[in-house]
């Protein structure tokens, strides 16, 4: 009976409204590296095995810096070093020397170019489904709800950090992502709006990247 319960609780598809969400389960979450943000997230970290959606006014406002600590932790925790850090249709080349400065090995990067939206969605789904990626970062604009649901199902088959980067104007589109945040650059760092988060209402986390 206990074993059954454990299995059930470990299932990423199970949504727990309250209680237990405060404790961090290392198998399901990875610390963001930003204490202010960790405190506000259910599970105290980025959830794995589900979709996270970043809504950005433009590229380069700090979306990668926000993810860097978690990416570093995931890549280093991957002992065998056999899982990719996949970049699907990034707007520019991620600069490997800068990533290496943060402890992310260059030989784990997998850059996937996919111009056509259908190819892009397909590639994201494959990356999530393969179980061969520690993290998948994907850039996407318009996408219909059915496709996003497919991506979420694919994400739930594994323990991958799955982040969709979408323009901020998509904030009012329906999305099945279990965590949605709007990123806003400020002179002091980055303000985050948690639009949607398990078990919590919308809230604002100011100055996340501030030292």
């Amino acid at each position: 009976m206990d074993g059954l319960l454990e299995t059930l609780l470990a299932d990423a598809r199970l949504w727990r409204a309250r209680g237990g969400t405060e404790a961090r389960d290392p198998a399901l979450c990875v610390p963001t590296g930003w204490p202010k943000l960790d405190a506000r997230l259910p599970g105290r970290g980025w959830p794995l095995g589900t979709l996270i959606e970043f809504l950005l006014p433009e590229t380069g406002i700090g979306e990668l810096s926000l993810l860097l600590p978690a990416l570093g932790a995931l890549v280093n925790a991957d002992d065998a070093g056999r899982r990719w850090l996949a970049w699907i249709a990034p707007p520019h080349a991620p600069y490997a020397p800068a990533l290496a400065q943060s402890g992310i090995r260059a030989d784990r990067l997998l850059l996937v170019g996919a111009e056509k939206p259908s190819d892009r969605l397909w590639a994201i789904e494959q990356a999530l489904r393969s179980g061969g990626c520690a993290a998948v970062l994907a850039w996407l604009d318009a996408a219909d709800d059915r496709w996003l649901r497919r991506l979420k199902l694919a994400a739930e088959t594994g323990r991958t950090l799955a982040v969709l980067m979408r323009p901020a104007r998509r904030r009012n589109d329906a999305s099945p992502a279990s965590l949605r945040l709007v990123l806003e650059p400020t002179s002091r760092g980055l303000d985050l709006w948690l639009l949607k988060s398990r078990g919590r209402g919308p809230s604002r986390v100011p100055d996340v990247l501030g030292a």
Partner: protein, 515 residues
């Protein structure tokens, strides 16, 4: 069982080596004249224009292949247009330039020539299974067993010459009972056939010594002694020759006359799978192709299974009636034997294939067949056996649909120029061993623009946070940079990596975004 067999065989092997391979073992007395034990007939093919035909060139104008010969540059091949100017192989480059001022020069490419020779060896296997390579420009075919099939030595040679001619290979052929004699005869006269050992000595005797290709010093010695033909040197007492000439020279002479066995290494072509299927009716829909492709893949699977082998590349060729054949190439990161893995990749490609015309036949060719350890592939996602199987699976699928170029890995390069400090490469599923390149101490942006862009906004609209970091490098390879880099922040809070060009323009450029 095995060790016993081996121990019985090994003394023989040892004796063979002593007799045949060590030149010092030649007895002082003349070697007793013996016929080669089983009757053999060797067909020598000398490719007269190998340096030329090995290069993929279709230029109309005169062009020639050159190589260094000591300090001078010498022509080793000239095309027909160049030949009309009077250019021939062996000419010095300066002389050739004087004859044909518009001459185009191409450097000799020995690896290509070796590949070309190997291709021809595969062709030669249609005449006999016993083919050996005679680099740089020769092939030896043991054709005794094929004579009856092709109707005699002359007919066989005519056929070989005809086929080579059709392939555009200028060549010289000769046949003789010993391989060395065949090679020498081919260098002297095209088309000589010496079938019996009895007439061999006579035919060889008439050849000038130059056909032997012996070292220049040995040939000079011969001239000084008044020896002009092989008969002259063969007639001389052995003891005297032993003192004057190198052992290899005499060994070759004995090989040619059949007084010393000359074993040849049999060429084994790299194995490949190739099968063709012709459906009863033409296939006009992609969906109809799949069962036929799968049938080919199953045959491939059987072929690989019995060899404990796998392949990393496959090519399907779809033959149409009125259109050029469609080629579908598939590749995998690790050699795979299991046809189901290929079926998945193929389905991905077929799904997006447009047929220009109905398909008459399907051909499946494999890449090189490589041995694999006898493990079975696992399903994606349940990577219990062998970590990283999901990573490989993903790589294969992405490459199959998006193409090789769309999927890349990254490696660091020890370089000061930011744009040259990393390189894209074919991703490897296994982690690269060894330390990465040293990293810069100064901050680097997470996004780097493909090319620096002129700074769109006025410079004073940005607040400089840190810098300058001076990067001045690359004067040696024609892409020098001299820049002062700064970290700047826009009013919106975005951090940029900008630089001022220290060259003439002095302009400001945006090179990266800190992200």
């Amino acid at each position: 069982m095995r060790p016993a067999t081996r121990s019985r065989v090994s003394p023989d092997v040892g004796r063979t080596r002593d007799l045949f391979e060590a030149p010092r073992a030649i007895p002082q007395a003349p070697v007793p004249r013996t016929q080669p034990a089983p009757r053999q007939l060797w067909l020598a093919v000398r490719l007269r224009a190998l340096p030329l035909v090995a290069l993929p060139r279709g230029a109309e104008g005169p062009w020639a292949v050159v190589a260094d010969e000591g300090a001078t540059r010498v022509l080793v091949g000239a095309n027909a247009a160049a030949a009309r100017y009077g250019l021939v192989a062996g000419q010095k480059l300066n002389a050739a330039r004087a004859l044909a001022p518009s001459l185009e020069i191409v450097e000799r490419d020995p690896p290509r020539e070796a590949q070309h020779l190997e291709r021809l060896a595969r062709w030669a296997m249609s005449l006999t299974p016993l083919v050996s390579l005679e680099p740089p420009d020769g092939l030896l075919l043991e054709v005794q067993g094929s004579l009856r099939l092709f109707g005699g030595a002359e007919a066989l040679m005519a056929r070989a010459a005809g086929e080579l001619d059709a392939r555009g290979e200028p060549c010289a052929l000769a046949a003789a009972p010993t391989p060395r004699a065949a090679l020498w005869l081919a260098r002297a006269h095209h088309g000589t056939v010496v079938e019996s050992a009895a007439t061999l000595a006579g035919a060889l005797g008439r050849l000038p010594l130059a056909v032997t290709g012996w070292p220049a010093r040995a040939l000079e010695d011969c001239t000084r002694l008044g020896l002009a033909t092989l008969a002259d040197i063969h007639r001389l007492p052995r003891a005297g020759l032993m003192r004057r000439f190198e052992a290899t020279v005499l060994a070759e002479l004995d090989e040619a006359y059949g007084q010393r066995p000359a074993p040849r290494r049999r060429h084994v072509a790299a194995e490949r799978f190739e099968e063709r299927l012709e459906p009863v009716a033409e296939l006009d829909r992609v969906a109809a192709l799949e069962p036929w492709c799968n049938r080919l893949l199953e045959r491939l699977g059987r072929f690989l299974r019995v060899r404990d082998a796998g392949v990393t590349t496959l090519a399907f060729t779809l033959v149409h009636r009125d259109a050029k054949p469609t080629c579908v190439r598939l590749g995998r990161a690790l050699p795979a034997a299991d046809p189901f893995e290929w079926q998945n990749l193929l389905a991905e490609r077929l799904g997006r294939l447009a047929l220009p015309a109905p398909v008459r036949a399907l051909v499946l060719r494999s890449g090189a067949v490589v041995p694999v350890a006898g493990t079975s592939g696992d399903l994606p996602g349940c990577g219990s056996e062998g970590p990283g199987s999901g990573a490989i699976w993903l790589l294969d699928r992405l490459r199959a649909r998006l193409g090789e170029a769309a999927v890349s890995g990254v490696c660091l390069v020890p370089e000061h120029r930011p744009e040259a400090a990393f390189r894209r490469l074919r991703p490897e599923p296994a982690p690269r061993p060894g330390a990465d390149a040293p990293l810069p101490d100064a901050p680097r942006p997470l996004w780097l623009l493909a090319a620096p862009e002129p700074l769109g906004r006025p410079r004073h609209a940005l607040s400089l946070e840190s810098g300058p970091e001076r990067i001045e490098s690359g004067w040696w390879d024609g892409a020098p940079v001299a820049r002062d880099y700064y970290v700047a922040r826009t009013a919106q809070g975005v951090r940029l990596w900008i630089y001022q060009d220290r060259e003439a323009s002095g302009g400001w450029f945006l090179h990266g975004v800190f992200g």
